[in-house]
């Protein structure tokens, strides 16, 4: 590891890669500002979480091995997602615990993998004080980030206390990966509760760390005609808020 | 029946493995009767324990009064019953301490014997009070029917102040001492009057057991 600039791999996550590349560019900008040498390994696809959560541990394992091989030689791996980072940090070691060849590598990678805001705040001690202060913004905790990784203070610190809080910030938004299409009605009912409490904070913008939750809520808010804008927290922190918000039309 | 017993135990043993060492570990635990973590609020003694006991019982919607001497209890009970407009037969547990109180100084005319549905008020004596949660411990016996704790709509419990202890663990120690290690048929832990929240999640008092629980702490059992 170079003392000045740690070799940092961006694990973009499939949703950001395919649907919101702006998150990737914002993340790179933040990591560089924080003093990282950023690389984007080209062979990355999906961390395997959809398969893992659907009971297909064989596919999940194959994708875990592919991802470990790709990322194992960096000082840090950073994902703009609590759930994908948790997949690597907690579930790869669990998935590969019985594998003599891969268990140790899975554990080693797990120890170097971070969710973006936690990495910026805790590891790089990123100073956001010169960044633009976001206004009327609510932070959307994602359950994986919050409960599996303890991501709670970091994004709030980076948003510099400007966050509007709802009373049920630890409640799920109803996304749940494939859950959101398997149990559409329940997923939507949970989303509506979440949207109502977000709207009640008086926020006009919701920033979140997981694109799955954001796309699900933004899609529901659009269908309901709610006046709320959804962005990944990386876009907000990097000041990249000119592009249309998630599910918003081009101006 | 025995076949099922054997089958269940055999399955457990095949999962759990050799028995001898496990038997020793279980025996040791059963013999030690060691308390686990007792919260700080369960470790209070004396005046602090008494104050907390009373405060928590009141929080749980019981009423509490304190009398200096046991002989003051009957008139205070009469006052209390008047204050809630309770009328009708008052049934005492067959406890000699209760029977010896000067009931004649009141108009209460208590009766003893089998508890009846028509009894309006039941009077029992608690083995101890647990300050940690404001809980009464009552043990059943020849002079302590547990039906008396539930059937009459008003339940009055007398408790000697010296019998207020810190925790449930302290209560178990007292119970074992007072019953010579022979567990009574029924031990009731009572922390307030009966209530239910089964209709539209709203609390209503007097679901099946007593609507009123009055605890009288007797400072000196003279």
């Amino acid at each position: 590891m170079s003392a000045e600039k740690p070799d940092t791999a961006l694990f973009i996550t499939c949703l950001a890669d395919l649907f919101r590349p702006a998150v990737g560019f914002a993340t790179v900008k933040l990591l560089e500002r924080a003093g990282c040498a950023v690389d984007v390994p080209m062979g990355q696809t999906c961390c395997g979480q959809p398969a893992y959560n659907s009971g297909d541990s064989t596919s999940a394992r194959a994708l875990a091995l592919q991802t470990i091989r790709l990322l194992m030689d960096y000082d840090y791996v950073v994902a703009p997602s609590g759930s994908c980072a948790a997949m690597i940090r907690l579930h790869y070691p669990a998935l590969l615990a019985g594998d003599p060849e891969w268990a140790e590598r899975a554990r080693a990678l797990a120890g170097r993998t971070w969710e973006l805001t936690q990495f910026l705040h805790q590891v790089m001690k990123y100073d956001a004080s010169t960044d633009e202060m976001p206004e009327k913004t609510a932070y959307l905790d994602s359950c994986s980030g919050l409960r599996e990784l303890g991501v709670s203070d970091a994004p709030r610190a980076l948003l510099r206390g400007s966050v509007l809080e709802s009373g049920d910030s630890d409640a799920c938004c109803g996304f749940g990966g494939t859950f959101c299409v398997k149990y559409t009605a329940v997923s939507t009912a949970i989303a509506d509760k979440k949207l109502d409490s977000l709207a009640a904070t008086g926020a006009t913008r919701v920033a979140g760390g997981d694109l799955g939750c954001l796309m699900h809520l933004a899609g529901r808010a659009a269908r309901r005609g709610l006046d709320l804008e959804f962005r990944h927290v990386a876009e907000v922190l990097a000041g990249e808020t000119q592009s249309p918000a998630i599910a918003a039309r081009d101006n | 029946m025995n076949d099922e017993r054997m089958a269940i135990l055999a399955r457990l043993q095949s999962t759990l493995g050799p028995r001898a060492a496990r038997e020793r570990a279980a025996e040791a635990r059963l013999k030690a009767l060691r308390p686990n973590l007792v919260p700080a609020r369960g470790q209070l003694r004396g005046e602090a324990a008494r104050a907390q006991f009373i405060r928590l019982l009141r929080e749980n919607l019981a009423s509490v009064s304190e009398v200096a001497k046991a002989e003051d209890a009957p008139p205070r009970i009469a006052d209390y019953l008047a204050s809630i407009s309770a009328q009708g037969p008052l049934r005492l547990a067959g406890n000699p301490w209760l029977a010896a109180l000067p009931w004649g100084r009141t108009d209460l005319q208590p009766v003893t014997g089998q508890v009846r549905e028509s009894d309006a008020v039941g009077v029992s004596v608690a083995l101890c009070g647990i300050a940690e949660t404001g809980t009464l411990m009552l043990a059943s016996g020849p002079d302590a029917p547990s039906g008396l704790n539930f059937l009459p709509p008003v339940h009055i419990v007398l408790l000697r102040a010296e019998d207020i202890t810190g925790s449930l663990e302290d209560g178990w120690t007292r119970l074992r001492l007072s019953t010579n290690g022979r567990t009574p048929r029924t031990v009731n832990l009572i922390s307030g009057p009966s209530r239910t929240a089964d209709i539209a999640q709203t609390m209503y008092m007097g679901a099946h057991g007593p609507k009123h629980l009055h605890v009288m702490v007797v400072a000196d059992d003279g």
Binding site: I12, D17, L18, F19, P21, G43, T45, C46, A51, D56, S59, A62, L63, C143, R147, D170, A171, V181, K182, Y183, T188, I190, M215, R220, S243, P244, A247, R249 | E4, I8, L12, T15, L16, R22, A26, L30, N36, L37, L56, G94, V115, E117, G134, G141, A144, G147, L148, R185, V187, N188, I190, S191, S194, T196, A197, D198, I199, A207, H208, G209
Partner: protein
């Protein structure tokens, strides 16, 4: 509402259309959550107590055979009987035989989820014995002929108005001609009717929250006092309990009591906690002449041998469902089984078979709130995930879902193909969106677009753009 776990999705949709159910759930979510939080804030040692309680349960499970035998010996020593039952059918038959041995006509019942698990009431009725539920919630749903929708609030889904109607229908012929609406009056009516039942019943059946190996005691925890009257007045008291309810000593029971009520209702102690040991003693003023404990296995000893054994730590407090977004949207009946919410989604596949119940372990967003509030530290998401694995490997999950998943995983394992498809597909999707930023409908995505717009991709994938950006430099 179908009493079938396979119908979870349809049942949930029905519950979501039921405004009464939704307002009851909303009240429950706020009430249970706030009360639990408040009671825990008042006890700094709460987390340490949970750790200890979970460790005690693990110890019990490691020594379950020894403790069960000790419990049995203590019940015998105090004049009671223990009956071991492999399954629901055996337990029902045992209880019927016991009732018949005293020519029982009516049986009063304290609240017992194990009684629901074995389907005791319909069985007794079919054998001309009348079971009378005495817990107010259970009484309400018995009148309504419905199963419980929550393990500690069985009638949680009923409005006061519905209770008024039910009571009016059933109490008219019992000397209560007028429909009452006040909650207090409704409670009073049930109280008056059930009082007479307690005193005239031949047998009282209760469940048990705990069985104490040290003393042979069975423990019930209630707020109403019904469980006590159920066991004090009849000649015979039958306790129906499953084998994992054992705790070693009275001291250990104290530890569980400190976490049970707080997790369940947010009370520091429930109003009545009762330890029952054997039948009435010589000279006792009251109590049953006979005391029987029916010990039910029903798959639990088999569960102990699996990686799902942590589920046997469960003390049925209901905190997992009280904090579950899925339960709080779908309600308890949607699960189509005795147990509901996260704990039910783990238990039901063991009781009903995974083939019948595979939908339940998938009925979770894996938000993890259940695990975070479970006083027994049960890793509910992990247990549900294991069941998902088993269901997937046994091809019990819908074939279409497995196909999509395999296709996605197959592509994702071939990065060049994955990125080529992204390069081809995304511009196409982008053009389809035509600047609207979202789709109201997409082919093959109706599961999403039925209720939500689907956000359009911003353009080329990040990897595509990053590669293009870097190439000229090289």
């Amino acid at each position: 509402m179908q009493r079938n776990p396979a119908a979870f999705n349809a049942n949930a949709a029905e519950a979501l259309r039921n405004a009464d159910m939704q307002s009851a759930l909303r009240a429950a979510e706020q009430g249970f959550g706030a009360k639990r939080r408040k009671s825990i804030e008042r006890l700094p040692e709460f987390d340490a107590l949970c750790d200890q309680a979970a460790a005690i349960k693990d110890h019990v499970l490691d020594h379950l055979d020894v403790y069960l035998e000790r419990f049995e010996a203590q019940v015998f020593a105090t004049g009671g009987m223990v009956h071991w039952c492999e399954d629901a059918q055996s337990a029902r038959a045992k209880i019927l035989a016991l009732c018949q041995s005293v020519n029982a006509r009516t049986v009063t019942k304290g609240k017992s989820m194990v009684s629901e698990e074995i389907g005791l009431n319909p069985f007794l009725e079919a054998n001309n014995i009348r079971p009378i539920e005495t817990d107010l919630g259970e009484y309400i749903i018995q009148l309504a002929d419905e199963p419980p929708s929550h393990i500690i609030g069985p009638a949680l889904h009923k409005t006061k108005d519905q209770v008024s109607d039910l009571f009016h229908d059933h109490h008219r012929k019992l000397g209560f001609p007028h429909r009452v609406e006040e909650g207090e009056a409704l409670v009073g009516e049930a109280r008056a009717i059930l009082r007479e039942k307690y005193l005239s019943a031949d047998v009282g059946v209760t469940g048990a929250n705990f069985l104490i190996a040290e003393t042979g005691s069975t423990v019930i925890v209630t707020n109403e006092g019904n469980g006590d009257m159920t066991q004090i007045f009849p000649r015979m008291h039958i306790v129906l309990a499953s084998i994992e309810k054992i705790v070693p000593t009275l001291e250990d029971a104290a530890t569980f009591l400190r976490v049970l009520a707080r997790s369940a209702t947010g009370q520091e102690m429930s109003v009545y906690t009762t330890f029952s040991t054997g039948p009435k003693r010589k000279g006792d003023a009251d109590g049953p002449d006979q005391f029987h404990v029916v010990l039910l296995d029903n798959g639990r000893s088999r569960m102990l041998a699996t990686s799902q054994r942590e589920m046997l730590r469960c003390i049925r407090c209901g905190a997992c469902m009280n904090h579950c977004p899925v339960y709080m949207a779908a309600g308890g009946h949607a699960y189509g089984a005795t147990y509901m919410g996260p704990m039910g989604s783990v238990l039901t596949p063991h009781f009903d078979g995974l083939a019948r119940a595979q939908a339940l372990p998938f009925a979770s967003t894996f938000c993890g709130r259940c695990e975070s509030v479970c006083p027994m530290r049960i890793p509910l998401p992990r247990l549900m995930r294991e069941l998902r694995n088993t269901a997937h490997d046994a091809r019990l999950t819908p074939a279409r879902e497995r196909l999509w998943l395999r296709l996605w995983s197959w592509i994702a394992q071939r990065p060049p193909l994955y990125h080529r498809l992204a390069r081809m597909g995304l511009p196409l999707l982008g053009r389809l969106a035509r600047g609207r930023g979202r789709f109201a409908w997409l082919p093959l995505a109706s599961g999403w677009t039925r209720t939500r717009d689907f956000p359009a991709p911003q353009g080329k994938s990040f990897i595509t753009q990053w590669a293009a950006r870097r190439t000229p430099e090289k």
